[in-house]
């Protein structure tokens, strides 16, 4: 499961251009030279466009509250679970070629074979609607070109909030465009004047994703002090996890692990002795 509030691979590329223009509007300045800790924090937060990003999040939340959230809530409420599962399976099925391509580009031959086998098994036995391969123990996974770039060592660049598409960064934005361009479904739809199918797919995907994260986002809105900062942190951590395929990585050490050595035992002992 990927996190983004909205990830609609459809041809709304103009909006992304608008996003880039808006990005130029506001910047946070680095802290004064000499404050090393503040500078380290500034670099770690890596969000020089924060004021603009916050404005875009406000816009996205408006759109979400008016359209997407009600749609996702209704979808979860009125569409039976088995049908939602089929819709989810079908969306995953359509995405299989892109996942396969990125498995290969990342040199993950085993995972590529899983994606390939899943594709023909689910086409033959499940018409794309049933995850027969999953039932056989061949679990599906997601990949995208943003993750491929990360595996190749391309840095993420600063945090960005894209209009409608949600949290991102330059690397993942390029990934989004490449995924769109390499998706056979999109190529077929574009070449046969069936763009409406792309919109239908994008809309369904948005509702399906949003329905899957209803509780998570409600929870985050309820418990976070600063929703924007929480989303930013969550997005980064989820992406790092996806890039490492859930295994963690030497390049992306879990922050906090290094200073775990500093205190926990000491504190644990203290906490015990206090009672």
């Amino acid at each position: 499961m990927s996190f983004p509030i909205l990830r609609i691979p459809s041809s709304i590329a103009g909006l992304m251009l608008a996003g880039v223009m808006m990005l130029l509007a506001g910047c946070t300045l680095p802290p004064p030279i000499g404050d090393r800790e503040a500078l380290a924090e500034y670099e770690q937060v890596n969000d020089p466009l924060e004021p603009t990003n916050r404005a875009i999040l406000t816009f996205n939340r408006g759109v979400d509250a008016a359209i997407l959230k009600p749609a996702a809530t209704g979808y979860r409420e009125y569409v039976p679970a088995w049908l939602r599962t089929m819709v989810g399976n079908f969306l995953d099925h359509l995405r299989a070629p892109v996942v396969f391509l990125n498995d290969i580009l990342q040199g993950e031959v085993d995972r590529a074979l899983v994606t390939l086998n899943r594709f023909w098994i689910n086409t033959g036995l499940g018409f794309g609607l049933l995850d027969m391969a999953g039932a056989m123990g061949m679990e599906g996974h997601d990949e995208d070109f943003g993750q491929t770039l990360a595996v190749w060592g391309v840095p993420s660049g600063p945090f960005m909030m894209l209009p409608l598409f949600g949290p991102s960064n330059p690397r993942d934005t390029v990934g989004l465009v490449v995924d769109f361009l390499t998706d056979p479904f999109n190529l077929w739809a574009t070449n046969t004047d069936r763009e409406h199918l792309q919109f239908a797919r994008g809309g369904t995907l948005a509702v399906d994703n949003r329905a899957g994260s209803l509780d998570l986002i409600d929870d985050l809105e309820k418990t976070s002090l600063d929703f924007y900062a929480a989303i930013r942190s969550l997005y980064r951590q989820r992406r790092a996890d996806e890039i490492s395929n859930g295994k963690g990585s030497a390049n992306l050490p879990a922050p906090g692990i290094s200073d775990l050595r500093e205190a926990p035992m000491f504190d644990a002992a203290l906490e015990m002795s206090r009672r």
């Binding site: 924090e41 002090l225 900062a229 906090g256 035992m265 906490e271």
Partner: protein, 208 residues
């Protein structure tokens, strides 16, 4: 800067020496940590899942469980990060109280929800003498994809305490830390953060 680094590693070295000297801190804390998490899950089921329990009572039960199983002060300090050192003693005291309160009201419902679903321990991995990661999956009802939860458990060989939890790769401590730092940085300062914590705690205690 080097002095700080030296102090840090010096402290770590002393701590390691202390741990190495402790005979109980054998290399089986991976397995013991896994048992610790299992027993925590059982306790949570026993004390939190009964829907008849009134919420204030459930909050108090969870507070006890939370303090017993989590290195609350350590998590709180790491969540405040560098601002911990900048805080006055009075602010630290107030922060520790508010942090515990906030964590309890934030996690009581989530914990109770999770407790109703089966937690399966997959494996554990020893990180070093004091730290082990316990990999678990929470099995959802209705065939939804299981949730991957990793518990980072610290130990001195006798006491076990959770020092961080990662849900699908998202660390509780790191998320809190980004959230808190953002409030401090955006002009609230430490007093601003404390007020926000207080407000949120009141909201969440009343809510639901």
């Amino acid at each position: 800067m080097h002095a700080g680094l030296f102090f840090r590693w010096g402290f770590a070295a002393v701590l390691c020496g202390f741990l190495a000297a402790s005979p109980a801190a054998a290399d089986n804390h991976g397995k013991s940590s896994a048992d610790f998490i299992r027993s925590l899950a059982d306790k949570a089921i026993a004390s939190l899942t009964d829907p008849e329990t009134p919420r204030p009572e459930r909050i108090e039960r969870f507070r006890k469980l939370f303090n017993d199983s989590f290195a609350v002060r350590s998590i709180g300090k790491r969540a405040l990060g560098r601002y911990w050192r900048q805080a006055s003693d009075a602010e630290k005291t107030r922060y520790e109280r508010l942090f515990e309160d906030l964590m309890v009201v934030t996690y009581v419902d989530r914990f109770a929800n999770y407790a109703g679903e089966a937690l399966e321990v997959e494996k554990s991995r020893i990180e070093d003498k004091a730290i082990a990661t316990v990999f678990t999956e929470i099995m959802r009802k209705g065939g939804a994809k299981p949730i991957r939860v990793e518990w980072i458990v610290g130990t001195n060989g006798v006491i076990y305490k959770i020092v961080d939890v990662k849900v699908e790769g998202v660390s509780m401590t790191q998320t809190l830390s980004s959230d808190f730092a953002s409030i401090v940085r955006r002009g609230g300062g430490i007093p601003g953060l404390l007020d926000e914590l207080e407000k949120k705690t009141v909201q969440l205690t009343a809510g639901q």
